[in-house]
Symmetry: C2
Subunit: 337 residues, 2 copies
DNA sequence: TTGAAAGCGCTAACAT
DNA sequence: ATGTTAGCGCTTTCAA
């Protein structure tokens, strides 16, 4: 079933069929209708491989998702898909493991699908100019920025929150409510990614309040994973039964931490307060509802696409957009007397 | 950057480069090495559109996911991806809305990507032979089967649990523990899909126990959505404050229902028991842990790919595999005195 | 073991 | 307004 079959059955040439299919103006209404009828009858769908081959670019935007079962990304991807759809570009998603190298994955996708641009969802981003040299299309870092690298800001775009500052705010929120023994639950302190940034914000909040950070209040889970967070929280409780609050660097970790607290006989928030950053759907249904700083996930997705299209079509420059989070006051933080 | 560039730089013809790239035997070791070196140096990646165009089939398996933010599908898709990877086929995922027509989406993907086969994740499946006539490749229904349609079992494969029987078991579990006023929370009773099947199992369990089903113990949320489940559960509690247990047709609904119960001042399980079917990761972290019948999600994903490959490569026939669920005894069911 | 050339399905430039 | 045709990058005969 090719365009040729449609052409023959319609009694026109292939180019006419192509014109109809691509909404070119120079086709008589009569012919257009006839062709469309045949297309319908034959259930004809154009072969995308052939279509793409012809253009130097396949008019596709690649999306590299690092850490695939991260619920936080769900609405981001959803919105990215909607926005890409609107622009007429196609979307190619590639999911890679949490520890994998997104730049290599992006470069590979770029060439095999002949992408026009890339959006990275979650990454280390401590890349140097040499490392991104293999990327020949514009790219946007979505939900993070190049905090640890040496990239020229004109080399890429980013859409993110200020992880450092938001973490500082979250911990300050606890301090303002009388907490001093505040633990932090994260992946690793030096992952050159979200964990490290938010950890620095945690330290800063303590410092500003004149609280000496204590090593054994920092728990590294090693993985971005609920089971690891659960285990980590248990170790934390055992090590420091005197802690009164915990800041987790993600909602999903907070959900697992709350379970660990419960299993250790601690009530939230009476015996231990919990605060996080992210705002995933599920954390609305914990009991009590999680107090967390909500990232505008859908808006960030939209902005990432907008940034890329700006560069691709509208001759605009690279942008670095910072979003604010919004505090959702749940019931997991107690004010100490 | 095309195969031609590689050929020129290596001083060989394009066909030789092609042979190297496709592991054909008739290439001298010397030439092979030289070409590979150039490929590496140039960061050359073959253009997939051109590759696919040449074959009658693109050796791709399409996966249609209906209802994209369904956490239950996450491990299923993960495993499908792993298994497809192993076979050497490519994978093309298309996500559609919960209410959309998966057969049309599948047919469209089949033609545009020239698929070898299709896997449907979640569907209505009340299709008739005429409706699937537009599908020209073998397809597997994963996590459901054609319970409401008139399809010849030789026309398709399926991998599922016995939704009717498992629901009957779940409700029977409650009945055996003394519950009589058992509510059911579902999408709609006649969705020709999971809800309807599990609803029938619910009715059967009541019937077997000689309990008269009561209309106002059935709550239809209209959507597969946590917010809808939360609202539905609230209505249920208000309407029937005397209920002692609720069977939700999905874990995610149970999580929302537990929150609604809590917000209405009911304790789980002391005041109301909750049971479900699915076994998603998050329901391990509810407090108490959700009692649910776990579907072997990853195994089902693997089996779906296996069934398809069996047909595609090994000349095997269509299969209809039923998996058993496994009860996870959490803490959400109380035995009544 | 290697190269030359045809052709996959489509679009677009050119011709009519 | 419509048709003819070259060629996108690749694989695969066929020939050497």
């Amino acid at each position: 079933m090719t365009i040729k079959d449609v052409a023959e059955k319609s009694g026109v040439s292939v180019s006419t069929v192509s014109r109809v299919l691509n909404d070119h103006p120079d086709v008589s209404e009569k012919v257009r209708e006839r062709v469309l009828a045949v297309v319908d009858e034959l259930h004809y769908v154009p072969n995308n491989s052939a279509r793409d081959l012809i253009k130097s670019e396949a008019e596709t935007i690649g999306v590299i998702v690092r850490g695939s079962d991260n619920e936080f990304f769900t609405p981001v991807i959803e919105r990215i898909e909607e926005e890409i759809e609107k622009t007429g570009y196609k979307m190619a998603v590639s999911r890679i493991k949490a520890g994998a190298d997104e730049v290599t994955a992006g470069a590979s996708l770029e060439r095999s699908k002949r992408l026009s641009g890339l959006i990275f969802l979650g990454g280390c981003f401590d890349y140097t100019p040499e490392q991104v040299a293999m990327l020949n299309v514009p790219f946007v870092c979505c939900t993070y920025t190049n905090s640890f690298g040496t990239l020229d800001p004109d080399r890429y775009s980013s859409v993110s929150i200020d992880d450092y500052e938001e973490a500082r705010r979250a911990v300050d929120y606890l301090i303002k409510r009388g907490h001093k023994k505040i633990a932090v639950l994260l992946e690793t302190v030096d992952d050159h990614s979200i964990s490290q940034l938010r950890y620095k914000g945690y330290l800063r909040a303590l410092e500003d309040a004149g609280i000496r950070p204590e090593d054994d209040l920092t728990e590294e889970t090693g993985y971005y994973d609920m089971a690891a967070a659960y285990d980590g929280m248990k170790r934390l409780i055992e090590r420091r039964p005197d802690l009164t609050a915990v800041f987790t660097i993600a909602d999903s970790m907070a959900i697992a931490a709350m379970k660990a607290l419960h299993d250790c006989g601690r009530r939230v928030p009476e015996d231990c307060s919990v605060i996080a950053i992210d705002g995933i759907k599920t954390s609305l249904y914990t009991i009590p509802t999680l107090t967390t700083y909500i990232q505008p996930a859908r808006e960030m997705g939209a902005e990432a696409v907008k940034a890329l299209i700006g560069i691709l079509k509208d001759n605009k420059g690279q942008i670095h957009k910072r979003f604010d989070t919004k505090l959702r006051t749940g019931g997991t933080v107690k004010t100490l007397e």
